[in-house]
């Protein structure tokens, strides 16, 4: 029944829609024939042809109205109206190209910026992690040791798999120069926890993941493709890693991803590094807990708390104060960046708001010029709903055009964002314009068109029409309410722009402060690189020390070069801490001794780096293996542990050293910004490679100061290093200047974006205020003419206009300052060295904005000054 109905009606409706002119013509013809027949009918009844025709027409009771009813009966009139409105909009917009272009461009800026930032937010915050059922994945804030994980696994029931992984560099001697690969040393459970199958082969089993198990390796897809050209016959081949052979048993799928440092190969921690794996005190595993389905979180948390207490009481030396609490993996990965991304998103939302206000303002100005057209249409019987719909159609049409243009801008914007290298944002590399971004853009465009088209449309139809026809076209000022609305727009634009400008200003101020921070060492002409000695050939310390000695001698013999070694370079992100005790002071209980940063050096490290010696002496040639063990401490160490006592001469040792190994403090050096320019230095103890008992410290950074260009320094170093051992890869080659700049990448990213948004906001606000003032002046031409005729000077006219602009700007400024005071505290985590209510920014920026606003008023005001009273009044 329904179907049969559609069989008839659908072709008819399609015909009404797409063959409109045919249908119209048929209707015309049908009614015309009827009128002729009716006329003949009346003539036959004795009327004159003229009377007959009139009677026939009268019977129809309004021919056009009946036609409209017939069209209504065809029930596609709504859609037809839309098409008609669209056609009409396009026609009228073509006649106002500058209006259309300005509107589309304004919206494109606002929407494009939003789409670009949204695509970042989408990639980083919204898209789910690339693991099956990723909401079941948890982690701990603190790293764990493998024995800890084993205990947690044994004493809980909520988890189906508990994975642990540490990333370590292994030397890969394949073909050509030796290189380092980043190896994930993990347990077999890791694969189950993350929920990945292999693309090729298999992963190692729990049986194989055992002390003395077979040497197996699983490759990531990138490594397999990059090094082996995706060789399908890779399985069973062997890889030489740091002097040992590993058999390839599997390749992971392309989707495999781990937060943090990228991993190229995976192997069993128990097989590769049994010593570290067994050691409960080595908390170096990132953990991945997969919760069993249907387990309440509270139960898992309770279990975890029990294990935590058990571990603490069982192993107070190793496992105290780890605060093991389950943390959703997602929060662990994006938790830190969420607030700052939200600040950016809010900022770009404000830009859109300004763009929308400008858009509404533009439409209002335009509708003012169309008042008479609209009034006439209303008078001819167009229902106001129909008029509003027409204006809305135009507005939505423009906003969708703006959305399309915005998407193009967003595409460019995303590429720009990528070049800004927002290094700290996890998964930023996945940013793309995808379905979500398209949907978001469409929704924003539509909403913009409807909401910001409705205000002017309502204003025009409800508040305008009645009075319009009476008014003379020239003096109709778009309605007093329209003008009031535009003033309101300007005030809010200035207020919003000010919020953005102050935010950007705060960021710029804190960035310059960060930039000026003294890192505590001289960055210029300083080249650094990392070398790691493979365990297979350098297990014994005498071999390591011989290498250190030979390398430094060889490098320092290059004219103009000073070289030294250090275990942790500033801003490398690396650090090692040790618990320590001071001789002669009461020993705290085991496990709760104070912790300090530990850096092991060799050669004249402080001199090479340009770190200031504050007291005592530097390490020297007299400090050798076998001589008195010495240490140098930093100023933060002195401030915390020797505030009233001279540290030089005091003795310290690593807690629980066995055998006892006291180091005499011989000097104090200045603090350096080890963790980045914005981070405070922590107490640190420097010791010597030639004296430390830690034979596992087989890695080192070479710090080279030399006038030669970095490229030449590097090739000289390679040559000399490989003359000593040609199997050692050199990695992480950076100039210290680059390292310092990179440490500010994150701030630079946020700053650049906020600055761009603020600039766009300022430009839009200026355009807004300029538009309103120009318009106000054309409206007041008469009045100004009269004033000039009555003797007003140029200056008076100028002040009249500027005063009007100033009032708006002051009001907007005051609102903007109030809003900023309320809002900037949400960005305090992005700031360094200034308060979010930094008085300088809150005074200087509003003044600057006021000045710019005045300039935007001055241009139209000058035009007003030149109003010729004769011309102005002649129009009357």
């Amino acid at each position: 029944m329904r179907f049969e109905h559609w069989l008839y009606s659908i072709p008819l409706r399609l015909r009404s829609l797409f063959r409109r002119s045919d249908v119209e013509q048929e209707l015309e013809e049908e009614l015309k024939l009827h009128l002729e027949q009716k006329t003949q009918h009346y003539v036959a009844a004795g009327l004159t042809p003229g009377d007959a025709r009139r009677s026939a027409l009268r019977d129809m009771d309004g021919l056009e109205l009946r036609k409209e009813e017939c069209r209504d009966a065809r029930r596609v009139s709504r859609l037809e109206d839309l098409i008609q409105d669209l056609r009409f909009s396009m026609r009228t917009l073509r006649k106002a190209p500058s209006f259309a272009a300005t509107a589309v461009l304004t919206l494109a800026l606002g929407i494009g910026a939003n789409a670009a930032i949204f695509s970042v937010v989408n990639a980083v915050l919204l898209r789910s992690l690339p693991y099956p059922n990723s909401e079941q994945l948890f982690t701990l804030r603190s790293n764990q040791s493998l024995p800890d994980l084993e205990d947690i696994q044994k004493r809980t029931h909520s988890f189906s798999a508990i994975g642990g992984i540490t990333v370590q560099a292994l030397n890969f001697t394949g073909e050509g120069e030796p290189v380092q690969v980043s190896a994930g040393l993990c347990n077999a459970d890791l694969f189950g926890a993350l929920g990945f199958q292999t693309a090729l082969g298999r992963v190692f089993t729990a049986e194989e993941d055992s002390y003395g198990g077979p040497a197996l390796v699983v490759l990531t897809n990138g490594f397999w493709t990059g090094i082996f050209g995706a060789d399908p016959a890779i399985l069973g081949k062997t890889l030489r890693l740091s002097g040992n052979s590993y058999t390839v048993i599997g390749v992971l799928p392309r989707e495999f991803w781990l937060p943090g440092k990228p991993v190229e190969v995976l192997a069993s921690l128990r097989v590769v590094n049994p010593l570290a794996a067994k050691f409960r005190g080595v908390h170096f595993l990132k953990t991945y807990f997969r919760m069993r389905a249907g387990i309440p979180l509270a139960q898992a948390n309770a279990e975890m708390q029990n294990v935590d207490q058990w571990l603490e009481s069982q192993y107070p030396e190793e496992d105290k104060d780890f605060h093991r609490r389950l943390l959703p993996l997602r929060d662990a990965i994006v938790g830190i960046v969420r607030p700052e991304l939200l600040v950016l998103f809010a900022a770009v939302g404000l830009v859109l708001l300004i763009a929308c206000v400008n858009f509404a303002s533009l439409q209002l100005a335009r509708s003012a010029t169309r008042q008479r057209e609209i009034a006439i249409r209303a008078a001819l019987g167009a229902p106001s709903g129909r008029l509003i719909r027409q204006m809305l159609t135009e507005s939505v049409f423009l906003s969708l055009l703006g959305g399309v243009a915005g998407l193009i801008l967003a595409g460019l914007g995303v590429r720009l964002l990528m070049t800004l290298k927002p290094a700290g944002l996890p998964r930023i590399g996945d940013t793309s314009i995808d379905a979500q971004v398209l949907g978001f853009t469409f929704a924003v465009s539509l909403l913009t068109g409807v909401v910001f088209g409705l205000v002017p449309a309502l204003n025009t139809t409800f508040f305008g029409i009645s009075a319009k026809l009476k008014e003379d076209a020239r003096t109709s000022a778009g309605g007093a309410s329209g003008h009031r609305l535009r003033k309101l727009f300007v005030v809010s634009e200035i207020a919003i722009a000010l919020v953005l400008l102050i935010s950007a200003g705060l960021m710029i101020r804190s960035f310059t402060i960060l930039h000026r921070v003294d890192p505590g060492f001289r960055t210029e002409n300083l080249l650094t690189m990392r070398v790691e000695l493979p365990e297979a050939r350098y297990r014994e310390q005498p071999k390591q020390r011989q290498f250190h000695r030979e390398l430094l001698e060889s490098l320092n013999s290059v004219p103009g070069v000073q070289a030294a070694l250090v275990s942790e370079l500033p801003m490398s992100g690396d650090y090692i801490t040790h618990n320590f005790v001071v001789e002669g002071r009461p020993r705290p209980p085991a496990g709760s001794e104070p912790e300090v940063q530990t850096r092991t050096v060799e050669g004249s490290y402080f001199r090479v780096m340009g770190i200031q010696l504050l007291a005592g002496r530097d390490f020297g040639s007299q400090d050798r293996t076998g001589s008195l063990h010495v240490a140098v401490v930093n100023r933060a160490f002195v401030a915390q542990y020797f505030p009233t006592q001279d540290p030089v001469g005091a003795r310290v040792e690593w807690a629980r050293s066995d055998p006892s190994d006291w180091m005499t403090i011989v000097g104090v050096v200045g603090d350096i910004k080890h963790f980045g320019p914005g981070e405070p230095e922590q107490p640190a103890v420097y010791d010597l490679y030639s004296q430390t008992a830690q034979q596992w410290k087989r890695w080192m950074y070479i710090a080279l100061r030399g006038d030669a260009p970095p490229g030449i320094l590097l090739s000289q170093t390679k040559q000399r290093l490989w003359a000593i051992d040609n199997q050692l890869p050199i990695t992480q080659v950076f100039t210290m200047g680059d390292v310092l700049a990179a440490s500010l990448d994150h701030q630079r990213f946020n700053l650049t974006l906020l600055a761009i948004f603020a600039a766009v906001a300022l430009a839009l606000a200026v355009v807004g205020i300029y538009g309103v003032m120009s318009y106000a002046i054309t409206q007041r031409t008469n009045e100004i003419g009269v004033r000039v005729a009555l003797g007003a000077q140029h200056r008076d006219v100028l002040w009249l206009i500027l005063g009007q602009g100033l009032r708006l700007a002051l009001l907007g400024g005051a609102l903007g300052i109030a809003a900023s005071l309320a809002l900037t505290r949400y960005m305090s985590h992005l700031l360094f060295g200034i308060s979010p209510r930094d008085p300088q920014s809150f005074i200087a920026i509003p003044i600057a904005l006021l000045a710019v606003a005045m300039l935007a008023c001055y241009v139209p005001a000058r035009r007003a000054m030149r109003v010729d009273p004769i011309v102005a009044l002649r129009y009357e």
């Binding site: 069989l7 009716k38 009771d61 009966a73």
Partner: protein, 110 residues
């Protein structure tokens, strides 16, 4: 020309469908035929005729085709569809029941 009696809501559809059961007619002929058949009692105004016909066509109860009329002018002829015939039967039943009930009430002796 007397004003036509107000038709009960929905009865115009019924009348038009009924008129068109005999043979395809154009709009004017339909109104004339209605007047004749009802003995000059019922008349549909020209103003409501065409919107009503277009609505019926849209519902799929009647279909329209262009063909030459008596005086060889092209005219739009409406004819009943299968769907319309079924609708008419149902509506006619309804009407019969309703009118019988109304007459019964009206004839009731006080």
């Amino acid at each position: 020309m007397s004003k036509p009696s107000d038709l009960v809501q929905g009865t115009l559809d019924l009348l038009l469908l009924k008129i068109l059961t005999l043979e395809p007619l154009n709009g004017f002929a339909t109104s004339i035929r209605l007047k004749q058949v009802s003995g000059d009692v019922l008349q549909v105004s020209d103003g409501s005729l065409y919107p009503a016909l277009h609505k019926l066509e849209q519902e799929g109860w009647i279909k329209a085709e262009w063909r030459p009329s008596e005086n060889n002018r092209r005219a739009k002829f409406y004819s009943l569809t299968r769907l319309g015939r079924r609708h008419l039967e149902r509506e006619a039943d309804n009407w019969n029941r309703l009118s019988a009930a109304i007459s019964q009430v009206v004839k009731m002796e006080a």
